[in-house]
């Protein structure tokens, strides 16, 4: 069972509300890097004791078409999703076009303890999973009482 979907607490609910505010009330100030709703690809972010786990839901893209970089604690995922049909195709008539088409770019601020040398990225079934290790010194330690 995947835990990338549930288990968010009240704080996350408030956070989500905060993120939706700009689209509900345009003109309200918000964080510079806060994502507008409906940005492509949607991302889920979680942490474990050893790593920061990021999943970008970006189906229909070749693994080598992603451009992933980390610079000054900012993870950037960019690329392009090409249209399925060429526009010159007169034989077909479109009825619905909801799927994202075009270039995309998403930036994620990483916490201080993220180690840019320990990054793994994997693309499977349309999900880009990025795992970033934490620095040794920041890992939780149990302290034994003498």
């Amino acid at each position: 069972m995947s835990h990338f979907y549930f288990g968010t607490d009240l704080f996350n609910e408030l956070n989500r509300l905060h993120q939706q505010m700009p689209s509900l009330f345009p003109g309200t100030p918000s964080s510079l890097r806060s994502a507008h709703l409906g940005a492509f690809p949607p991302v889920n972010i979680g942490t474990t004791d050893d790593s920061i786990e990021i999943v970008a839901f970006a189906p229909g893209i070749k693994p080598d078409e992603f451009d992933i970089s980390i610079d000054k604690g900012l993870l950037t995922i960019s690329g392009e999703r090409k249209p399925i049909l060429s526009e010159s195709d007169t034989e077909t008539r479109p009825y619905a076009q909801e799927r994202f088409v075009g270039t995309f770019r998403r930036a994620i601020e990483l916490p201080e303890n993220a180690d840019p040398d320990k990054v793994q990225a994997r693309y499977a079934n349309g999900c880009l999973s990025i795992s970033i290790g934490k620095r040794e010194s920041s890992k939780p330690r149990a302290i034994t009482v003498q």
Binding site: F4, N12, G46, E53, P59, L85, R99, G126
Partner: protein, 132 residues
């Protein structure tokens, strides 16, 4: 062939179901095009594998149901979620012009492609006018 859409989204079923099992259901984004052979539908289903995907046709209703599984390490604590459900569901009503026995489905990189052919007798035909 009229210009009215022949694949009409069917509301209700999917929503009612999501309330039952508490898990939020995601409505997948779709593209639909029509050509002379029939209709092609693409649906974004990230994280879905063929064994977790069900495409059904019943009484003229086409239903797509799927469950996404994203492998995650143990002890994960979710901090930010833009996709909040792992179940996808969407249904459409199909006009009887389509041959539901010949629907082809393929899934690649989280994108489902459905090819729904028109029945032979429904293909647009030109009728020759004879002069007696």
């Amino acid at each position: 062939m009229s210009d009215t859409t022949q694949v009409v989204e069917r509301q209700g079923n999917a929503v009612a179901q999501s309330e039952e099992d508490r898990t939020p259901t995601v409505v997948p984004a779709i593209d639909i095009v029509e050509n002379k052979n029939g209709i092609i539908l693409w649906a974004d289903l990230p994280g879905v594998t063929t064994d977790k995907l069900e495409v059904k046709v019943h009484d003229g209703t086409l239903t797509i149901e799927a469950e996404a599984v994203v492998p995650t390490p143990a002890g994960l604590h979710l901090q930010h979620a833009e996709i909040r459900g792992s179940r996808f569901a969407r249904s459409f009503s199909l006009s009887p012009d389509f041959d539901t026995s010949k629907i082809e489905a393929s899934l690649r990189d989280g994108v489902l492609k459905l090819t729904i052919p028109r029945r032979e007798e429904s293909h647009p035909r030109r009728i020759e006018v004879r002069i007696d």
